[in-house]
Structures are given as structure tokens and as C-alpha cells.
Symmetry: D2
Subunit: 366 residues, 4 copies
């Protein structure tokens, strides 16, 4: 098993590169050995900030290095495919920001390339790693909810620029050719991946998209979708880039089961999970808000991150822990990324066509 993780970072186009660089800097054995960015100023500054000697504007040179084990890709969404495929062909493990691509076809090629290379391909579905989402996963796993009937999800924020992301990031995310769409692909990716992880695969979708309040945006700032899961359960997903409710992301999730209900508010000023169990004696029957942060296993833990971004640290820590101990996959897979993108794409097609779209089951290798 490896005793070090030597990471090459491609692009700082997405600010999540910064969060992950910080996480890497706090994990023993891991280090960034090289950074590339076609924005030389931006990339060089990141290299300075994280004390990385090797900076280049040529991402392909980074793949040629023998001292790179893992490539992390934070470029514009439309450029992921080319870079991930090349990295896999160079024998690297790849860690790719979500959405992993802007089309299912690209995502399919990425999956195939990584599969052929035999390396690990991880999709950066960071929302799974919030403490709140982990708690919900445990609640679902405990069985107290019974069969799932209905899910509701809201993922929204005030806008990419509005929450403090750099202007050039807001610019490319507002360009469907680079970002792949608007709020639906960006926020919806979080929502759909969480729902798939917690409630299972999605079989059918209908959707509406619109742009109500972002004149400078070519894509949608509001989208809603209704879904049917393979299990037969139903669900709803709402996303927006024009939310007027404090700052930061609202990631709300509700799962209604035959014998219990769970509500989640992650990345919230007062993050919480609430659970209703009908199997309790009458005296105790009601809503419980389990302790989440700080957990009893980390009292007075001054090394963790603030709650609205702690999941980045937990994600990278989990990824590298699996890398070091050799447990494959190292995280949510590119197959998950493809499956998510397939739902996103079906949502766009449903919104355009006005007809329910069946979700194609991703081809699997034999």
C-alpha cells in the first residue's frame, strides 16, 4: 500500500480546488507535487499559496510526470472529459469535480477510459460527505424509515458570484458551452447524487426550467423536476441560483418512509437532521435531532473545518484514507458521475420536450 499520495492539480477554474488543496495540506503523506492552469496568474498564485514548486500552463506535461499518483481536475466542466481521459491513459488515478462532464456521451467515454486503464476514477460528490448527509445515510441504513415513499430535495444558492466565487468562475459557469447549463446541472448534480445514494436509482423524470432573475445567464436559474425511482417511490427536486435567503448553499432533503421520516438541512447556519420514528413508545414519540457536530468522538476538535465547508475536508480525508489503505473505489465513482449526468440530461430533455423521459441504464462492462 502506498505511503504517500503525490497529487497533480489541473486548473483552479473551480474554487473547490482551493478547498481540496487546503484539505490535502492537512493530511499526512499527501502533497501536491505540481499544479497546472491555463490562467497563469491564477495558477501561479495557488502554487505560491500552497508552496508547490512546479507550476505549468500545460496540463499535459503534468500527466507525463512519474511522481504524480493522482490527478485532480477542477477545470471548466466541458474540459473534464479530455483531461480525465488523458490522465487515465497515463495511468493516473483521477478525481474529477462534479458534474464530471457536460454530456452523458463524454461521461461515458471517461468511464470507459478509466475502466480500461484500471485506475480509480472518483467523482467529487462532496455533498455525500457533510456530517448531516452521513447521518441521513446511517438513518436510512438503520431501517427505521421502512419503505421509502417520497423524497423532496431543494438545493439552492444566491448565485455563483453572489456567494463570493471569483468573477471568472461565475463567467464560465454562466456559459452553457463550458458549464453545461445553469442551476439544474450545477446544483441538481448534488441533489440527484444524494438521492441516488440514499433512495436508489431514478427511472423517469419530468422537469421545467426557466430563467427568472439572472439576465446575464444563458442557462436556467430555476428548475424543478418530478421523478419516479426504480423502486416505484416518487420524488421532487428543486434547484435555484437566485435564492434570497441568507448566503451560501441551502441543501435540504426530506425522505418519507412507511414507518419514519427524516429531514436534513446541510450547509446551513443551523445544520441539522431531524428524524421521526413511529416505533418509539408514546412518551418518546416525536422528532429527534441527533447530535452531529461536534461529535462525541471529536470533543473540542479544533482541527475540523467550519460546518458549511467541513465536507470538503471529510471528502478528501476519506478519499486519501481509502487510497492509502487500498480500498477501491476511493470514493463515489465516475459511474456515479455518469448516472447522475444521465438524469440531469434527461431532465433537460424532459423540460425541452414536455414529455416524461426514461432514464437509460448506463451500459456496464461484462
Amino acid at each position: 500500500m502506498p505511503d504517500e499520495a503525490r497529487i497533480g492539480m489541473i486548473s483552479w477554474a473551480h474554487v473547490h480546488a482551493e478547498f481540496r488543496a487546503r484539505a490535502i495540506s492537512e493530511i499526512p503523506g499527501a502533497r501536491i507535487v505540481a499544479i497546472s492552469d491555463d490562467d497563469e496568474t491564477r495558477g501561479q498564485r495557488a502554487a505560491d499559496r500552497w508552496q508547490v514548486q512546479d507550476f505549468t500552463t500545460d496540463w499535459t506535461s503534468l500527466l507525463k510526470r512519474e511522481d504524480v499518483d493522482i490527478v485532480m481536475v477542477h477545470s471548466e466542466n466541458a474540459r473534464h472529459a479530455e483531461q480525465v481521459i488523458a490522465a487515465a491513459r497515463a495511468g493516473k488515478h483521477v478525481f474529477c469535480e462534479k458534474p464530471i462532464a457536460t454530456t452523458p456521451a463524454d461521461a461515458q467515454r471517461m468511464v470507459e477510459a478509466v475502466r480500461a486503464a484500471g485506475t480509480d476514477g472518483t467523482a467529487a460528490f462532496v455533498s455525500r460527505f457533510s456530517k448531516e448527509a452521513s447521518q441521513v445515510k446511517s438513518v436510512v441504513g438503520s431501517g427505521v424509515l421502512g419503505d421509502i415513499l417520497l423524497t423532496r430535495s431543494l438545493i439552492g444558492l444566491a448565485g455563483i458570484a453572489e456567494i463570493g466565487c471569483p468573477p471568472e468562475m461565475a463567467a464560465w459557469m454562466s456559459d452553457p458551452a463550458l458549464g453545461g447549463g445553469g442551476a439544474w446541472i450545477d446544483e441538481g448534480s448534488h441533489g440527484i447524487d444524494l438521492l441516488r445514494w440514499l433512495a436508489g436509482d431514478i427511472a423517469e423524470i419530468t422537469a421545467f426550467t426557466t430563467n427568472r432573475a439572472k439576465p446575464g445567464l444563458d442557462g436556467e436559474d430555476v428548475a424543478v423536476a418530478s421523478i419516479r425511482y426504480v423502486t416505484g417511490a416518487l420524488g421532487e427536486i428543486a434547484t435555484t441560483w437566485s435564492m434570497s435567503a441568507d448566503i451560501g448553499m441551502r441543501n435540504w432533503l426530506e425522505i418519507y418512509g412507511t414507518t419514519g421520516t427524516v429531514l436534513m438541512r446541510a450547509t446551513d447556519p443551523q445544520p441539522r437532521v431531524e428524524v421521526y420514528r413511529s416505533d418509539q413508545p408514546e412518551l418518546w414519540r416525536g422528532w429527534t435531532t441527533p447530535d452531529i457536530a461536534p461529535q462525541s468522538t471529536e470533543p473540542h476538535d479544533y482541527t475540523s473545518w467550519p460546518p458549511h465547508i467541513h465536507h470538503y475536508k471529510r471528502e478528501v480525508a476519506s478519499y486519501l484514507n481509502r487510497y492509502f489503505t487500498g480500498r477501491r473505489p476511493f470514493g463515489p465513482t465516475l459511474e456515479d458521475g455518469l448516472a447522475c449526468l444521465t438524469v440531469i440530461d434527461a431532465g433537460y430533455r424532459a423540460a425541452a420536450a414536455g414529455t416524461r423521459q426514461l432514464i437509460p441504464i448506463p451500459r456496464r462492462s461484462p
Copy 2:
């Protein structure tokens, strides 16, 4: 202007008849003069309880009485049309439990009959009368939300029998021929009427329905819909008759605007409205939970009803107040009932066909 309101009650098939009888008993000038019910035992008991002398199993005889000003209809949904139309033709004002019918065609005939008679036709959309919904209406009216972008609505309960309704009521509501469907028509009617009232007319809908946990029910116990308003805003509606989260109805509503957000939890153990206004100075910017009950104008008010049903009292009080003071209409109209049912019907058709349904604009008289 009338100084008394003499009311004939047709049927106790729906327990809301009992709530409204109680409300009538507390309002000066109003009284039930006659009750009809084809279930003689049930009707006679109601007559005894409310000290009404005249009971009959023949509802048509009630329409012939000169001492009846208002007819309130609480029969099985499928029977509303016949009774309301006959009551209108007899020159009576009619107050009809929601959904006002089981088909838009029936509802259209009801609207036309009342219009022809020149009497008042009220649809009993009681959810508008919760204090929480009134508060939300005022918040929307204040303009602080800006343009509405997105709405989310959840209306659910554990089931008709599960919340304590009589078995024979649960039975007819579970029969689509009498009730018109399942959770979607029953709970969705509340949700859609509130959304129309607060956010405007609905132009398009997609939906899914299913039966996940009510084997004895012919209709759906879960439904989800996505909508586009005439304004271009988007929305979602979820309904269920299989909720596992305490008892009673959960009526949750969220309205996201360009400059503010409002969340409502009505008919809840801890009912509340929360408002986010972005126009506040930084020190005060945040979520506000306005005082609702008891209001400052009714301190120590021991005459009001418990919060999970107080809206029935407020609805009947408002209705009779308008009746006594001659302000037409006396409440939400049968046209509202028709418009709501048109959306419900479009939702069922969308769920069956898998295609987005345009909502027909109800024909209006010249």
C-alpha cells in the same frame, strides 16, 4: 342585509360538516334549521348533537324549504354536483366542500348553475383560513418577496382512517368513483388552491402518482407534480396519504422570491411562518417568525379553537360575516373550485400520459 343565516346541511359524509356545525353554533344570527343525510343514524345523531329539530333522509326536501337561506354540502365528492346544482336552482346560496366535484365537467355545470341562479357559490377551501396562511397572504401582499421564482408545497397525512375519521368516510374517500381519486385530489386540492391564491394561476403541469403503502385504496397514496405558473415561475407539489410523521395534516409551503422567502408550517404541533427579507439592515437580517397565535388583538382569547382546526371557525366566521354584510362573494368561489379541479384533472392526465398538460382556462361568461 339579512339579520339571520338559516342553514340547511346536506350530509355528514365528510366530518368537516361537524366542524362547521360547531362554528355555526358559536356565531350569533346563524343556525342550522334542517339536516339531511341518507345515513339516517349518522344524520339523526348530528341533528341531536346540534339541537336541530328537522332531520330528513331526503335532501331534495331541504331545498324546498323557504326558511333555508344557505345550503352546505358535505356529501361524497361525486354527489356534490347534483346537489349544488339543485340548490342553486332552488335559489339557495351554496357552500360546497372541496373538491367541489370529481370532474371538471361537473364543476363547470355547477359554476354555470350558480351563475344562472345569481346566488353565491362558495368552495370550502378552508386552508386559506388558517392564521398561518393568512399571514403568508399578507407577507406576499406586502411586496417584500419581490417576484416569485419558485414555490414548494407538501400536503400530507397518515391516512383518512389513521387520523381518526370515521370508517365510512375513509371508505368512500378510498373509492375513486365517489372520492374522485386518492391523495392527489384530496390533499392536492388544498395545496393547489393555496398556490393559486398566493402565487397565481397555473399554466402547465407534469405529475407522477403511485400507491406505495395503502393496499386497500384504489387511488394513489403518493403524488408529485411540477408546475409552471402563468407568470413563468415554477413550483412543486407533493401529497401523500401515507405520511409517517406524527398525526394530523402537514401543510408546508415555501415561496422563494427575488428579494425574500417565506416558509409556512400550518396545522402543525408548532405552527409557524418564517420570513426572510433581504431589505433589512445587516444587524437584523435573518429569519423572522411573526407572532401568529394568540394575536395581540385577541389576548387570552378562550373562544378560539385549537390551532389544528381553528381555520374551520375562521372560515365559517368570515363566510357568515360577508353574508350578513352583503359582500359578494362570501368566500372562495366555485370558479376557484373549478380552476383547482382543472389542475387536479390535468395532473391525473399528465401522470397517465407522461406528457406535460396545459391547463385549460375555464370558460367565463360574457
Copy 3:
């Protein structure tokens, strides 16, 4: 066992007479047979409202009636003693508004008179009968809190007049000669009785009182006390008649035990009880808010009262149920009233003297 409860009501000086009259009117077998009030207008109106034929301004005549089983006393606090003692001597059961007197000496004489008569003497500690307080009692009884370490209690309201009580009631309550003091005796009585009921007898007290914002009041509008229980646990009590926080009473209670904690907010717009149990598995450890209203045993209960006053109905219902079934005592006893008043009196003495007061144990008959 009696099949009817014939009640004589002495005085409408306190508005709780009205709540209890309403409760009596809803309970089969119970009725008010006579009302006395030295305010003839006020008393006659009450008699009209509740359809009581016999009204008198002479309360002593009421005690002479053979058709009176129970006397309920709602006169000014300083007059309770005379009336309760006379009623007991007339062989009546007595139900006396809290505080049962304005001095422990009066209270002691009341206890002795009732004991001598062999009738039931009930102190109207209505706060025990809120659903929230009942829930807390059950939580304490379950043992999950372990040994009690600490209690905190806040009872406050905006002022007697401010919450809508009649001016003449506000007037006598503001007169220490009639009311016995200010916020401490009035609100503190609720707090202390709840604490005694839930956490045990009080051994020592220190206190401060002041008048900060009620110029027209001779007594205190704010009081704080620290206490030591007989068990050794400690506690705090704060009371105010000058609260600026919506309307109505705030009755907040916290009990900290070695293995759990319970928080109560009764008579609140969002009433609730929250419980922390350290004996739960990690996944479920956290705060639970048990369902309280509507309870599962009373779904769609349209006969109960609004939450901020429902405890009056529950109190009278419990009292009469015990009366009818012969279970003595019928409610919290005059001994409880004496014990509570002894703590109140010790608090006033502690505030005046600046020294800790031991609470005398009430003399008990052999």
C-alpha cells in the same frame, strides 16, 4: 359516588372563573347552580352568560344551600381564607384559585379548617395540567434524567392589564393588600408549585425583587430567586410582569439530571418539550421533541381548547373526574398551596433581609 357535581362559584374577580365556568359547561354531570359576586354587574353578567339562575351578592348565602357540593373561589387573594374556611365549615368541598392566600398563616388556617371538615380542599395549580407539564412529569417519572442536579424556571408575562385581563382585576392584583405582592406571588406561585411537583420540596431560598417598569404597581414586577432543594439539588426562579416578548405567559422550565435533561416551553405559540437522553445509541443521541398536541389518542379532536388555555379544561376535567369517581384528593391540595405560599413568603423575607431563608416544614396533623 356522586352522579352530579353542583357547584357554587364565589366571585368573578379573577378571570380564571370564566375559564372554569366554560370547562364546567362542557362536562356532563357538572353544573353551576349559583354564583355570588360583590360586583353585582360583573356577577350577574357571568350568571347570564352561563345560564345560571341564582345570582347573589352575598357569598355566605351560597354556602347555606344544600344543592351546592363544591365551592369554587375566585375572589381577590386576600379574601380566599375567609371564604374557604367558611365553605369548609359548611361541609363543602372547596376549589381555590392560587395563591390560596396572601400569608402562610391564612393558608395554615385554611388547611386546618378543611382538614377538620373532612372535605376536599384543592388548590388551583392549573400549570400542572398543561400537556407540556404532564409530559415533563412523565419524563421525570421514567427515570431517564437520573438524579436532578439543577432546575431553571422562568414565568413571565407583559402585565396583567397588558395581556387583556379586565382593569379591575389588574387593579386588585396590583394592590399588595389584596393580591399579596406582585409578580413573585402571582407568577412565582406557578413556578414554585411546578418545581415542587417535579423536583421535590424546597429547603432554602434567597431572592431579589424590584419594580423596574410598572410605576402604577406597589409590588415587584421582577423577582429572581435561588433555591436549594431538600435533595440538595439547586435551582433558579425568575418571574416578571414586564416581559417584552409577544403576548401571554411564558412558562419555561429546565431540569438537568445526571443522565438527561428536559426543557419545557408551555403556554407558548410553539409549545414544546425537549428531552436529551444519554442512554441512546450514538445514531439517535440528541434532543427529542415528543408529540404532544394533538395526541395520538385524540386525533382531529375538535373539542379541546387552544393550547395557551387548554390546561384549564384539563384541570377541571381531572378534578371532576376524581370527584365523580371518589378518588381523594381531587387535585393539588391546600397543603400544596400552603407549601408553595411558604416558599413565596420566604422569598419575600429573603429579599427584604438579604439572608438565606430556611423553608419551614408545614405542621402536619397527627
Copy 4:
């Protein structure tokens, strides 16, 4: 004005040394130049962790260094006085963990020594620096509360060892000779300083202390006090080291004014401030929970600390900012530390004597 802050750290006996070392490491211009600790292993490890070259077991040698501008003292409480006085005499600014001493006499000598030296003496009242406390300070300063009537404060935790502090820290804090007492001096110091800062000086106190659940502790694990402010307002303070309610500190504060109320829950899994203002129009009157974290001025701020300890970073950042810009004092002063300790001491005397203690006004220099 200085362009660097060279810090000498005396002792890691208190874990807050670690939090402050981390904060220093994140602030440009500041660095720890030397560490002393009589526990050589503990001190050397800290020096290694924070890459400080100079470690000594002799704290006096640290004071002789010319390259030390500021001395931070985190030794056992009883040792603060000797070290702070020596540091002041050596011409150093001193930053001293709270409580600044174990007796008012010691604290008085510390104040005098620093005054004579003309350096800055800061008491580490970190609780003032939580975002929630800052918000409450702004709310009080805005005047919306009117005159303060009543305050309530609860500061508690499960125990020093229970929340994860090192055993040797728990040991000395449990020894009154070294720690100065138990929960009252340790937790009460936070509470009293916050109250003095927010509501003014305290004139009188009564108190009870006990040990209910910590057999190994010589001091108290529960204390309650009632206070009168110089303004005439009243208050209560409860503290415990035996709380059973999740983990970590509960710092709850309530301030009731004539025209408004504010409630604070700091260092809580769901930290929040709630404000009630009676000056709002009826539609908006209610409880507001202002946004606190993340603030709008720090969107996506991945440099801040988790909320249960972020106040340490904010405290040190504020202190050093004032140091660099020459604004004296650099933080809460040793005079504040003395005043707080005087109240703590009066509380212990009140608990022992059973009589109300007047708080002596600290002597001030001419």
C-alpha cells in the same frame, strides 16, 4: 506601531494555549518565539507542533528575552499572579487566561503591577468574541431592548475531562488550590464577564454551590446565583460541570428589556441569537434570528474556524489587530478580570455565609 508581534507562551497547562497558538500561526506578523512549560514533555511537544525553536522549563528566562513583546499565560490559575506580575515588571504586555487569579487580592496585585509597568494587561475573556456574543452586543447597543429588567445565564458542560481535555488539566482544575474552585469560578467567569459587558456592573449577589455528581472533585459541580446590577436590574446565573446534554459548552444568555428581548445560544451545535422587538409593525412582529455565520462579508470563508471554537481565532485576531495598530487596551483588561473575580469571590462568600454580599468596587488609581 509595531510590525511584528513576538510572543512568549508560558505553560500549556490549559488547552486554550493550543487554540491560541493555532490562531497566532494564522496571523501575519505574529509568531511564537519561545515556549516555557514546567511539564517538559508537554511543552516540548507544543514547541514541535508549532515549530518554535526555543523551549525552556524555566518561565523566568522567557521574560528576560528582548525578542518577546507579549507574554501569554496559560498556567494553572493559582500561578497566573506570579507570572503576570513578573512579566509586567519585565516590561512585557501580558495576555492572561481567565480567571486571571484565584483570589481578588492576587488579581489586585496583578492590576497594579501592569499599571505600574505601563504595558497592556489583557484578560482572556474569549466568550465575548463568539459571533453570537458580538451580535448580542450590537443588539444591546442598538437600544431596541429599552431598559434592561432581567438577565438569565447558563454556562455548563459535561465536565473538564468529559469534553476531552487532557487528564492533567482536569486534575489541576479539580484542585481548588490550583483552580480556585469548581464550576462556579471556571464557567461562572465566562457568564459574569459577559453579563458585565452586556448589562453592566453587578452590585449584590446571593448564591448556592454544591457537588452532586463529581465525587472526585473537591469543588462544586453546580452553582446558582441571583444578582442585582448597579442599575437595579436583576439576574440569575447557573453553572455546572455535570451537564447531560450533548458535549461541549452550553453558553445560554437571555436579556429582557422594557421594549425587547434577546436570547443567545453560543458554542452550540445550532448556535443562534433570537431577538424580539416590540417596535415592529404587526405583520413583522415576532422573533428574528439574525444571520450570523457565515456572515455576508465572508462568503465561502474557508479560513474561519468551526463555530464551537471560532471565538478563539476572533479573540486573538482582535487582540493582535489592536496591538499592531496601537489601540489600547488590546482586549478586555485585567481590571475586567479583577472585577469578574470579585463577583466570583462574593458568590463563594455568599454561598458559604448565606447572606447577600455587596460587591466591593475595585480601587482605582488616581
